[in-house]
Subunit: 613 residues, 2 copies
């Protein structure tokens, strides 16, 4: 039996929270009041019912329970909970949605009690999965991760990716709370109030499910307690709720999604709430003071390759992971069922406890990596460059969570060859360039790959590294240094006519072109633009001043790629920039045939230069 | 009882097909032989067992059954089937994976018997859904759609999006064939040979499931017959198969994914096959000669807006759909649960039979649209611009299927305001620009939106239209004409100092800036670049020659956006191009505050111009 006094206090707190939700959204003039009201009891019970264990004065405590609002639009509820916990004043709460307030329309990490930015639906469960994975397999701590889910967002495929992978990893420390309030944005959801539909689907994937009335504190508290007793599988609490609960004229009504009450409506609503004790504060239980084992970074040996052997940059990536892990003991490696192609498998063999198979589910892989990143890990995640497009929305959201995920896309460009266009990453540079403060690296040989993987591990932020399928020869010696934002001038004279800028596979084509041109007495400056973002403006500018034209060559479409990065860098300098890039519909064929076909090969470079001079 | 003679012939055909698979992959030196061998009986029975109804001399017959290889890597099987049907010679088959052959590594529509390009896993079921939706609700024809699925790809969330939506629309004309061969690329799948795991999960979503031995012709044929008797729900035939079936040293073995046999291995394998009758051909049943009702395009009335009223471009999109449908009776409209925000709801209200709710599942929406497009429809599909990033992989694949989907992304840019960054489309222009031959349009007022929606409907290809949340004033009169690849010069004199190029919301800022500058006696050329791709090089060039600098202004990140499109267009002309774009981490706030904060507002434009002159 749960004692009456406890329930009474929770009821009083829920009233206070409803008041905060309604008042703050009305003050903001927008916001999702009704979606917040439906989950009020679920979250009030969690935080203030003795379930959640969190040191409110130390958000960074490694054994804090974690709470993610996957239904990010219920942010008024989230903020109101922390106001009720005494961590926001009513005045601060009233800044919600205003410019420069940390209380944004959808949660971002600008507010310290937000574990990860949400608001694009269907991402929270994957993030939670990453945090639960961390607790169970990495930090080995007993904290639990809770994810508040909306019913409407259950139609996102990413949810089912997370559901299957969480079950696969037997994460009984992951508890989903599904707020089935029946109504989506534009009307009823696919399953309405049919809780059994959710139960059937979710349990079929191996989750424990608990069905409850989401407005009964007794049922809610019992459900959490029951969830604690489940072993070897994650738990979904499926709660029947009423959208707009607590305000008669909002309850279960269509047309109120994402709308705030006007002042007259607010007055009416508050009347219904009756007396609210604004001095009331809820208590949150403290976590056990447990910490993960300390890991001491070790020195690692340098890069070593036989100078006359060819090796693919994707293989060098795998080698690098194995080599540098002792130096970066927070590293974790994930791969989406292609580890034998991306060479993440080398790491898996060396450090099986730090590798997680994510199966063919790229969205969840990125979400999981975000969760791991937010728990202090350095996730290196890999798939074919083409298939990262699958998780663009998750990548995009990653930038609002201050994350430091390292993305490695193999099989870039038409040089993939026979497998054909579906397997060719041709949009990946453009995609990763759009992310604010991102780093985009494109090494051309094993040495530069190894060095840049190291730089990626050191760098505090999101990094994309593009690797190539084909074996390529070494360009650099093992003591060459590479920096984020750097470049290498590989050919340089006082009478260079034209500058050729390439990276990755096309750098090898440019080197061959340069040999041929040299023989013909044509001097060309050649730049390895291995850091596409940030870009080495100084070196580019110098080349622009000292030569008559620039030719960029990339195994990527022209739009948003290396060529446009160069054009942006030199936009205020008078120099023509010609871009050789993938412009024809690619197809199957030998890599060399395709490089020629797309006019990004040695031959194309020579031809273009001869045209220009 | 199925007669012995039929089974005998199917067995002989399966042998022939295995021979083709093995010989063609060895000839190619690569390709997925083992993944083809596992599904050989499943597909042989379908095509040549009297199940499939298809006029092999008229691939365009509207009542042909449709077959999609979602596991596109089994293309050797697909091509071998059509060789066995007499539509490819052995010689042609041996061109597989070679440059310029229509038989690409993964299927593309270069080969006429391919319904849609596949190879990025987990997309075929959505495409099939679109075709089945077309059969049931639009063309009202009895054809069936079959989708061959791999077990490994079932981990993609997009599969579960398709599974739930197909059940929602009660598509009993959609039959999935799940080839459970236990092995993925790098090892065992999540569920291995546990067929019950798939049955439980798929049936929980309301599908009929049939479990069979995927190498028994009797069981397979019975399964198809049973599938025909199911009513009101889609059917999944879940088949236990052996990867590499038919060749002892390949069967159920790891390490053979995506590998061809060498010549010695091939000889060994063919020995096992025993006598193969290469003159044997399989017969495919003909479909009933049924055609959909003919629709005659009607003239529609022109655009009409009150000149002094403000109206958002998103609303104008909805208006345009309703207005032009009679002229384009093949139009279909889909939306991902935000039709009240994108204004697709206006069309839904006017033509409910042509609107399909796709719920919050953007990947499946794009796949479904591709299926509809391949069946001759003109799909207009909408969600927030930000959420199209969710389906980038599907969009990317769309270009290899010669599709003509129209994508409409609302809520673009920081001008979304209070809802915050998660809801702001800031990467959409870059994303859609990367698609080869794509069209990217960004209208600024209701008139241009209406006109461009019309152009999009006419255009044969993929088109993206970016709309804005805010109400904006009218810029154009109803008789103004807009073309794909066009632009409008809104301010022009013989002594313009600088050219300002904007589109959408920033055009309004630029217009205000122009007013202010004019008062200060500063003449500026102002261009509405409503067609970002293709781009109006002629007008830009003229401006570049006639003015001293160009300033681009966009409510989008700098990378891959309008600014870089302009830079690419003018890369060989000596003029500085300054790009005002979203460069700071966006946040919640009033639209005007955010435009100022990102320095893309009227104030920022005026400031920049004053700096320059």
């Amino acid at each position: 039996m749960i004692d009456r006094e406890k329930i009474d206090k929770l009821e009083q707190l829920a009233k206070l929270i409803r008041y905060y939700i309604l008042a703050s959204t009305t003050e903001a003039g927008s916001g999702h009041a009704t979606s917040s009201l439906s989950a009020t009891e679920l979250m009030t019970a969690l935080l203030f019912g003795g379930i959640f264990r969190f040191d409110i004065n130390n958000t960074g405590h490694p054994n804090n329970d974690r709470l993610i609002f996957s239904k990010g639009h219920a942010s008024p509820l989230l903020y109101s909970l922390w106001a009720s916990a005494g961590k926001l004043t009513e005045e601060e709460l009233m800044t919600m949605r205003k410019f420069k307030s940390p209380l944004e329309g959808h949660p971002t990490v600008a507010f310290h009690y937000v574990e990860a930015a949400t608001g694009s639906l269907g991402q929270g469960l994957s993030i939670g999965l990453g945090m639960a994975l961390n607790a169970r397999y990495l930090d080995k701590l007993p904290y639990r991760t809770y994810v508040l889910l909306g019913d409407s967002e259950m139609s996102e495929g990413s949810q089912w990716e997370a559901i299957q992978v969480a079950a696969h990893y037997k994460l009984d420390n992951l508890i989903g709370v599904l707020d089935v309030n029946r109504l989506g944005q534009r009307g009823e959801t696919m399953y309405g109030h049919n809780l059994a539909a959710y139960e059937k689907r979710i349990s079929s994937f191996g989750w424990e499910t608990i069905l409850i009335d989401g407005h009964s504190f007794t049922e809610i508290l019992n459900a959490y307690e029951k969830a604690f007793s489940v072993s070897g599988k994650p738990v979904m609490i499926i709660a029947k709720t009423i959208k707009g609960k607590g305000v008669t004229f909002l309850e279960d009504k269509d047309g109120w999604h994402g709308k705030a009450l006007n002042k007259v409506e607010l007055a009416l609503a508050l009347k219904e709430l009756d007396t609210v004790d604004t001095s009331l504060r809820g208590d949150i239980a403290k976590p056990e003071d447990l910490w993960p084992g300390k890991k001491i970074p070790q020195n690692v040996k340098g890069v070593s390759y036989q100078a006359d052997k060819t090796v693919s940059t994707r293989k060098a990536y795998g080698n690098a992971l194995v080599r540098i892990f002792p130096q970066f003991p927070d590293m974790v490696v994930l791969d989406a069922e292609v580890s034998n192609s991306t060479y993440a498998e080398l790491f898996k063999k060396a450090y099986p406890d730090r590798f997680f198979e994510m199966f063919i589910a790229e969205q969840n892989m990125v979400g999981t990596a975000l969760g791991l990143s937010r728990r202090g890990k350095i996730p290196f995640i890999s798939t074919f460059a083409a298939f990262f497009t699958r998780s663009f929305d998750h990548i995009r959201m990653g930038q609002y969570s201050d994350s430091h995920i390292k993305f490695i896309g193999s099989h870039s460009g038409v040089s993939v060859g026979e497998d054909g266009p579906s397997q060719m990453g041709l949009e990946d540079i453009a995609m990763f360039r759009t992310i604010l403060d991102s780093v985009v690296l494109y090494p051309s040989d094993a040495i530069s790959t190894e060095k840049l993987v190291e730089k990626a591990a050191e760098h505090n932020g999101m990094v994309y590294i593009r690797t190539t399928r084909k074996d390529t020869s070494l360009i650099y010696s093992p003591d060459e240094e590479f920096t984020i934002g750097g470049s290498k001038v590989l050919s340089n004279s006082t009478h260079d006519l034209v500058t050729v800028i390439a990276a990755g596979i096309t750098l090898h084509e440019a080197l061959s072109a340069n040999e041929e041109l040299k023989k013909a007495g044509i001097m060309v400056r050649l730049i390895d633009l291995y850091s596409i973002k940030p870009i080495d403006n100084e070196t580019l500018k110098k080349a622009a001043i000292e030569t008559k034209a620039i030719i960029t060559v990339e195994d990527h479409v022209a739009e948003g790629g290396l060529g446009e990065a160069v054009k942006s860098s030199l936009a205020d300098i008078d120099i023509p920039v010609y871009s050789l890039a993938v412009r024809k519909m690619p197809r199957s064929g030998k890599p060399t045939e395709l490089l020629d076909y797309e006019e990004i090969s040695k031959n194309a470079i020579v031809k273009k230069i001869k045209e220009l001079i």
